[in-house]
Each structure stands twice: as structure tokens, then as C-alpha cells.
């Protein structure tokens, strides 16, 4: 049991009474100022980028230091699981390897043919050069938004709006950049929508984040649900920003009209991510020769 506090009722001292009253006035004024800041955040979500970017720069080294330890711990847990299932896994992997070899030969043939066709069409394959390769060093754990922290900022050329990918698949896009660190909106965030297409058949769809680590894949065409468990969706490049043909997610289950997918670039295992140039849609047609003055 704790006795009631006396100091909240300052008795007959005028000075103490005014002091208490003033502290409440300051608190309420502060709340109003804070509400103003929230309204600014609603109107312009990228506002105060300078202050928040600076805070990000200061705090990023803290996160970056311990990243290796966490990766090690995750690997240990995975490693123990792998030992337990070693025998059955070995057999399954041998079977997979055989199948993959056949698929690889097939893919090589296709890629040769593809290159030949491209040369025939004189298409310029603009593989976007990476702007920066950096480590993902943390995420916002307490907020209901899904943002990750990337250890590269404006000094490395990272600007808000650039797409971020890893070798496994699409990660998200940069929404805030400090000098040496930036925040990445993951594709699993509720504000993220990525135009995708089904790898098998090319049916266009939208992949929207659900905030719990999965994405909702919504087909654009009417009619029955075209997805099956295990289907892979790729970015379509529609509308620019995300370059086409980056793997996005694998379908886990169908849910009515939509499908629930899991991102191929698992954010908890992300180590390095690549910041690329924003894809600008179709390559602009070369200016005609006679247009020159």
C-alpha cells in the first residue's frame, strides 16, 4: 500500500499552487503543439526530414554494431534444426539437384536464345547500375509501420524514392535518408503497394503489405483467383520505380479473391541490400536523326 501523494495538492502556498498550475498549462500547450506535428505528418509524411535524418544518422552506428551477433544467433538456431533433419533433407536435396541441373541447362539455352533475340531487336537492356550496396541494420520494432534502417545515406547517393532489393528479391523503397543512414519502407508495410505479375502466365496483380510480414496479392483481372500455392510473383515494372522481373513473393495460400504471399527477401535474414536507380518505365525512344538543328 502506498500513501496518497501530498505534493499534487500543494496546500496554501501560492507559489506551489502557481507552479503546479503552470506545469499543467505547459503540458496542455505541448500536447497541442504535438497534435500540430501529427497533422503536419499527415499532410506531408516526409516532413522534418532533416531532423529525423539527423537522428537516424546518430543512432545508426548503435544498431550496426550488434548486427553480426544477431545474425550469428539466427544461424545457430537454423543450424540445429538442419542437423536434426539431415538424413531426409539430404535425400530431398539430391533429388532437387538432379531436377535443377536439367532446369539449368534449359535456362542456359533460353538465355542464349533471349540474348540472340535481343540483339536482333536492338533492344538496350538497361540493367540499372546499383547506387549503393549497404547493410540492413535494424527496423522499427515498436511502431505498427514496417520500416528498416539501411546503413547508407545521401553521402552514398541514396535518395528518398529509390527501390531497394537484395539478391533474393525486392526489399522496398527508401522513404527517408540521412547523411549516413536511411529508412526503407519494406514491401510488407501497409503503405506499400507493388505492381507485380505472376511468373507463370504473366497475369498482372498488386502486392500490398499487410504489416505482419506477409503481402496480399490482388489480381487486377476479374474472374477466378489465378494463384496457386508456391507461385512466384515478380515486379512488372508498370508505372516505373521498381525495375521489372525482380522476385517479390511466393504465394502461401489463396484467400477468396486474393492470395497471401511471403516475401522472398526475408527481412529478418537480410544482410546486404542494393539501392538501385528508380526505373523510369519504358526506355525513351532515341531522338530521330533529322530532329537535330
Amino acid at each position: 500500500m502506498k500513501a496518497p501523494t501530498r505534493n499534487r495538492r500543494p496546500g496554501f502556498s501560492r507559489r506551489a499552487q502557481y507552479g503546479l498550475f503552470l506545469s499543467y498549462v505547459v503540458a496542455v500547450t505541448g500536447i497541442l503543439v504535438g497534435l500540430g506535428l501529427v497533422i503536419v505528418a499527415h499532410v506531408d509524411p516526409l516532413g522534418f526530414a532533416a531532423i529525423r535524418g539527423a537522428a537516424l544518422d546518430v543512432t545508426a552506428p548503435v544498431s550496426s554494431l550488434g548486427r553480426g551477433v544477431v545474425n550469428g544467433a539466427v544461424s545457430v538456431v537454423d543450424g540445429i534444426g538442419a542437423y536434426i533433419q539431415a538424413g531426409s533433407k539430404n535425400a530431398a536435396m539430391a533429388r532437387e539437384l538432379d531436377a535443377d541441373r536439367r532446369a539449368l541447362v534449359h535456362a542456359r539455352i533460353l538465355s542464349l536464345e533471349n540474348a540472340r533475340l535481343r540483339r536482333m531487336l536492338h533492344l538496350v537492356h538497361d540493367s540499372p547500375a546499383p547506387i549503393a550496396v549497404a547493410r540492413i541494420i535494424g527496423s522499427t520494432g515498436t511502431s505498427s509501420r514496417r520500416l528498416a534502417t539501411l546503413a547508407a545515406g545521401t553521402e552514398d547517393g541514396v535518395r528518398p524514392g529509390l527501390p531497394v532489393r537484395s539478391p533474393e528479391g525486392l526489399v522496398g523503397r527508401v522513404i527517408l535518408s540521412g547523411l549516413t543512414a536511411s529508412r526503407v519502407l519494406l514491401i510488407t508495410d501497409n503503405a506499400s503497394v507493388v505492381p507485380v505479375r505472376l511468373a507463370r502466365g504473366g497475369m498482372p496483380a498488386l502486392a500490398a503489405g499487410r504489416g505482419d510480414g506477409s503481402v496480399e496479392i490482388r489480381p487486377l483481372g476479374a474472374g477466378n483467383n489465378p494463384f496457386h500455392r508456391g507461385d512466384i510473383v515478380l515486379t512488372s515494372g508498370t508505372g516505373g520505380l521498381y525495375p521489372p522481373d525482380v522476385p517479390v513473393a511466393v504465394v502461401l495460400k489463396r484467400d477468396g479473391d486474393v492470395a497471401i504471399g511471403w516475401p522472398l527477401a526475408d527481412p529478418t535474414r537480410l544482410d546486404y541490400a542494393i539501392v538501385e536507380k528508380a526505373y523510369s518505365g519504358l526506355p525513351t525512344p532515341a531522338p530521330a536523326a533529322h530532329a537535330k538543328p
Binding site: 509524411p45 522534418f48 515498436t142 529478418t268
Partner: protein
């Protein structure tokens, strides 16, 4: 020149500074746990900054004026990447709410404190969810329920931690039992 005998107790000035700085520093440190290099898929990490604030507020009601939520909330916003202002508003509101409720309660015990803290945690987390929702990230409210539960379960532990820190920050020297 003779120096006064060295006492094991730190000088009074240092104690005063320590008594003021420790609660603020530990609250900011609680917010800074969001910087730990863990990438999580859903908002599961308890807001330790808020828990420390509540722990200190319930342990020492007279220590802080109500506006302390403004600077500490701002620090929390900057450290955790929430929209600026959400921590300022919610933390200060929550302190005012506790002030109001505390006038009604004459004697507080452990369970009442936990209930009060649980209420404050739920208000702040749901408020943070609403603000994040309004400023661009539409999320299902079901996502933050586990976080509220985990935070409420963490509260007694944080209360213990605050009490330990409180003993240390006000200790004037080593007290021997023998």
C-alpha cells in the same frame, strides 16, 4: 595542507545530479532499445521507453511535472521512427490521465498500479497505432494487440527495475549491515 578524510559517499552535488539524470537517462535508454539490430516482421517489441516512464511515474509521483512527457516523447519519436509528435501527445496525455485518476484513489496497491499502467499502455499503443494509421500506414488493429499484452506483462519487471535504480540513485553511500 590537510585534506578532509575521504568518505565512501560521493559528494552531495554528484548525488543531486545523479538523482535527476538517472530517471531521464533510463527512460531514453528504454526508447533506445528500439535501435537494437533486430529486424522484426510485426510490431512485437514492447515500447520500453513508455514502460520506464510509467515505472518512474508510479514509483515517484512527485518527481516529474506533467510536461516531462513532451521532451521524453520527442526523444522516443526520434529514436523509434514514429511520426514526430505522436509520443509527445500520447505520453503527456497519459501522464495527465494518471494525475486525474490518482486524485480519486486514496491508497494505491500493487494491483491498482498494474491496472493503471495497463490502461496507460493500452491507450498509448492504440493511440500510436491510430496516428500511424492516419499518417499513411493502414494496419489492422489486431497486429498491435500482442504488443499491448507483452508490454503489460513486462510492467512488473520494469517496476522492479525502477525501484532498484531508485535505490541506487538516492543512495548516499554504502550502508553496511554488519
Amino acid at each position: 595542507m590537510t585534506r578532509p578524510p575521504r568518505s565512501s559517499a560521493p559528494p552531495t552535488r554528484a548525488i543531486e545530479v545523479r538523482a535527476r539524470v538517472v530517471p531521464i537517462a533510463t527512460t531514453i535508454a528504454g526508447s533506445a532499445t528500439a535501435l537494437l539490430p533486430i529486424v522484426v516482421l510485426s510490431p512485437a517489441w514492447p515500447p520500453f521507453g513508455l514502460l520506464m516512464l510509467l515505472g518512474w511515474r508510479l514509483l515517484r509521483p512527485e518527481m516529474w511535472p506533467a510536461w516531462i512527457g513532451l521532451p521524453l516523447g520527442l526523444a522516443d519519436d526520434l529514436l523509434t521512427g514514429q511520426p514526430l509528435g505522436s509520443g509527445m501527445v500520447l505520453w503527456t496525455l497519459c501522464l495527465l490521465m494518471i494525475d486525474l485518476l490518482e486524485v480519486r484513489l486514496l491508497w494505491r496497491d500493487y494491483w491498482q498500479e498494474w491496472l493503471l499502467a495497463s490502461l496507460a499502455i493500452a491507450v498509448v499503443i492504440l493511440g500510436g497505432w491510430a496516428i500511424a494509421d492516419w499518417t499513411g500506414g493502414r494496419a489492422s488493429v489486431v497486429l498491435v494487440l500482442p504488443q499491448i499484452l507483452v508490454s503489460i506483462l513486462f510492467m512488473p519487471l520494469i517496476g522492479r527495475l525502477c525501484a532498484m535504480l531508485d535505490r541506487w540513485r538516492l543512495a548516499t553511500g554504502k550502508i553496511r549491515s554488519d
